[in-house]
Symmetry: C2
Subunit: 359 residues, 2 copies
């Protein structure tokens, strides 16, 4: 069976704010959700019909979980390969886990992006100090040494500038599995939030323009202030990625825009095989939210309209103690506030966001 | 303490679609919900952080429920007086239960509406066949005999036309506690969805124009196609009701509009002390939904903007087997579908709704 019915249960791996917003969107469509997470007080547990608190490598728990749901999805790309393997034997996992292997490793990811004809930053595989030193000599300064796996929000990376102590940088990263990327002198960071349905239909929201602070997304502005033809290029890359991976669900492609004379060059940074922070504005600012869109795709249902509901939309993350201002934001006319129900406020932790829509 | 903090728990009496949508709106603001209902497979149980399945007169269960939450609200007006009494001893109940006594009895309700200076249909208290016969003689035909308590969606009422068998009508109603209302030859049915905050602020959404089929709401159109000054009168009545009852939360006032020459006369039909079906369009068509607005009010928080997000909005209920068309509606561009997750489709049962917004 390719599509499920209202009343069916979608299992979600992970229990953070993305899983929570997926569960809420599913409920809107009459779907139940079953949250699987090892973190006892994860916020998605508060809004689901069923829950499993277990490690991702607990195969008995995984099997019981799979048997209790109709289809499985995930809120994060670092799902262990073995986890996906166990689940796939019992139920459809969407998007199909091939995308995990591809996006969990920066080297494999960049090679894939180039294979489909898109541009990435120049990069070198780095495995030891000599290969690092050689790569730095070739790419020049500045460049960025990144772990191939498990990096996010600026974690697992280090900028390499002239006269830097290469040995220290390499050793501090804590792994020998790295990639050195040439720094991209971008004028803008943008993202495509796109969806591919089970029957191959492709749909994308308006291009998002993103502003990061301390490597964490701070603000998304929609539509991105770039040329229409540049946006078209970005959408085409996303569609190529989706088709090449037989993708089902929502995904994000983060891109740099480099301005060269009159031209805007699109450089792909990374792929996130899931709903994405830069798509949160769709909750209030689009006919169908990215969360509903993902649930529709995963359920095997038709995609909804991605129509933007305002001329200009801004989404601001509330990071760490910024969420303490919730009452002030709530009083602001036209600010649409979302809080994720996280028990503990920590520096750098995404606690909520708010959206403003200009009519 | 008058206001709670994000992360706190709101207890909700009742587990139907209204409770479900309240729970979803609460989650958006970082609130937890605890659903209390005697109906084991109620749809709100699928989206809450905690649940109690118990009868409304189970005082031990009520006390345990109250002690586990920070503030209590309800999704229906037929909360037994004793239930409210037990809960109020332990936690704030919002809106305050005085409104329940008032809205549970059509006679008391109509007397209250007249006391605050608004117009109702002419009516008589009916307790036996002689008082019924006398009331019919005075009010004329057609008129409507209604039970004073527990009527909804056309249940508990009977139309009285000329040559009707009064004895049969009276006996068939199954109670001697009735009210005879003169039929109102209305040109439109409208409703005000309004909110009063804990500090007395009043806010109302654009007036809703409602179409019923078989006594069940079928379609709501916003804004109602009536004169601006008539709408102002309707809002004033709602505000008077809210202030007179020291109300906290969302409520609906159902009204008839009678056209008399150039004039539009507003006649109050009934008050619903809760979120209301004719306000479902606010989920997609207003900056703040009625469900979020109610949760804000109950939490003691400031009210949100009621700005309408389109020139014309239509909400259609999916009643009984109409929900079988879910896939067709989902494919319709611009239709925003909501399904309530009810296990069983029954004739007359509200299974979902969809909203369309003209930009």
């Amino acid at each position: 069976m390719t599509h499920i019915l209202p009343g069916a249960t979608i299992g979600i791996l992970g229990g953070g704010q993305l899983a929570r917003m997926l569960a809420l969107a599913g409920a809107r469509l009459g779907l139940k959700t079953h949250i699987y997470s090892p973190v006892a007080d994860d916020p998605a547990f508060d809004v689901c019909a069923a829950q499993t608190r277990a490690e991702f490598l607990d195969e008995a728990a995984l099997r019981a979980f799979a048997q209790s749901v109709d289809v499985i999805t995930y809120e994060f790309e670092n799902v262990p390969a073995r986890t996906a393997e166990v689940l796939e034997e019992l139920r459809p996992v969407r998007p199909n886990p091939k995308i995990l292997a591809l996006t969990q490793d920066r080297l494999v990811e960049k090679q894939f992006i180039r294979r489909i004809g898109a541009t990435t930053a120049d990069f070198f595989d780095v495995n030891d100090l000599p290969s690092f030193t050689k790569a730095v000599e070739t790419l020049g300064y500045p460049s960025i040494l990144k772990t191939r796996r498990f990096g996010y929000d600026g974690k697992g990376q280090s900028k390499v500038t002239q006269h830097a102590d290469l040995s220290k940088i390499f050793n501090d990263l804590g792994t020998t599995c790295c990639i050195l990327e040439k720094f991209v002198p971008f004028s803008k960071e943008v993202s495509v939030i796109a969806t591919r349905s089970i029957d191959g239909a492709f749909s994308a929201y308006d291009l998002c323009e993103n502003l990061h602070e301390n490597h964490i997304l701070k603000t998304t502005h929609v539509p991105a202030r770039i040329k229409q033809e540049t946006a078209q290029k970005a959408f085409q890359i996303a569609e190529d990625i989706a088709n090449a991976t037989n993708y089902v669900g929502v995904f994000a492609v983060e891109m740099f825009i480099v301005s060269k004379q009159q031209e805007e060059i699109v450089i792909v940074n990374e792929i996130a095989p899931r709903v994405h922070n830069s798509g949160h504005w769709t909750l209030d600012g689009a006919t169908t939210s990215q969360f509903e869109q993902h649930m529709r795709a995963v359920a095997g249902w038709p995609l909804g309209s991605t129509l933007r509901l305002g001329s200009n939309i801004t989404m601001n993350n509330l990071i760490g103690s910024e969420a303490d201002d919730w009452l002030k934001i709530m009083e602001e006319k036209g600010a649409m506030l979302h809080l994720y129900g996280k028990k503990e406020t920590r520096p750098g932790r995404k606690m909520g966001h708010y959206t403003k829509i200009a009519p």
